[in-house]
């Protein structure tokens, strides 16, 4: 059992630590996250233009716990040898790392879908990008309000 004295000592150290952590925080965090997102996007699509449509990203609009958010992506495609979805990428705007998952698939998948559960660090917009066999990119975004963030340390920010 923790005595009162131990508890106070621990509380004092953790307070001091969080102060130290705050002092080290990057003041340009929001800008950096945005740049990381753009960078990840460029790495996936290159200079190709991304068009809206054909992709359907489903996420609950409001989520209590950001540690496990159900996410599903479905892409409209015939999924034949000549016309299929080659890849599906999921990106977030405000997570510490923008990438969530990258799927490689082909006509053998039958339908271009992905259902999974993800972590969201903040209220933000999530983007799904599909790469077709003809090289074109299509995307869809969804806004999610998160009340309890995944990775609480990041939630201090």
């Amino acid at each position: 059992m923790t005595t009162r004295r131990e508890f106070l000592a621990l509380a004092a150290t953790s307070l001091a630590l969080s102060e130290a952590a705050r002092a080290q925080l990057d003041p340009n965090l929001a800008a950096n996250r945005k740049a990381a997102f753009q960078e990840a996007l460029r790495r996936i699509v290159g200079d190709t233009q991304v068009r809206r449509g054909r992709v359907k990203l489903q996420l609950p609009p409001l989520i209590d716990n950001g540690n496990s958010v159900p996410l599903s992506v479905a892409v409209e495609s015939a999924m034949t040898e000549a016309d299929h979805v080659r890849a599906i990428h999921v990106l977030t705007e405000k997570n510490p790392l923008p990438d969530v998952a990258s799927v490689r698939l082909g006509p053998r998948a039958g339908r271009a879908t992905l259902s999974t559960r993800v972590r969201l660090a903040d209220t933000q917009s999530v983007t799904a990008i599909a790469q077709m066999s003809d090289g074109s990119f299509w995307s869809d975004s969804a806004e999610v309000v998160v009340t309890l963030s995944a990775c609480l340390e990041e939630g201090l920010i």
Binding site: T92, D99, A101, V103, L105, R108
Partner: protein, 106 residues
């Protein structure tokens, strides 16, 4: 110890699109969390999930720390022939789990 669960229909018609659900047991430690004393907990995640149907790769996922613990991956595939569908999860610290399911195509 069941470290992964897969759900594949036991039989299907030829050419039918079947749903495949997989669940692996893994904490998916992000590498961003700290202990009470402020040390970073090192990243430990599953990096790649691969599904092969009679030896042919049909679905592959690269996972990042933003995937939830015990990652669920559900997708679909075409039942082309009777055989086995194999699943493999590979990750940090030598994590490697394989699981197979057999499917009968009529």
């Amino acid at each position: 110890m069941a470290r992964a669960i897969v759900n594949v229909p036991a039989r299907a018609k030829r050419g039918e699109i079947v749903e495949v659900k997989t669940l692996a047991q893994h904490p998916m430690e992000t590498g961003f969390r700290r202990t009470q004393t402020g040390e970073l907990i090192p990243r430990d995640i599953i990096r790649r999930f691969t599904c092969t149907y009679n030896g042919t790769e049909v679905y592959r996922v690269d996972l990042h720390p933003a995937m939830s613990a015990n990652p669920l991956i559900a997708f679909s595939t075409i039942a082309t022939e009777t055989g086995t569908i194999a699943f493999q999860w590979a990750g940090d610290n030598g994590y490697s789990v394989t699981e197979t399911a057999s499917i009968r195509v009529e």
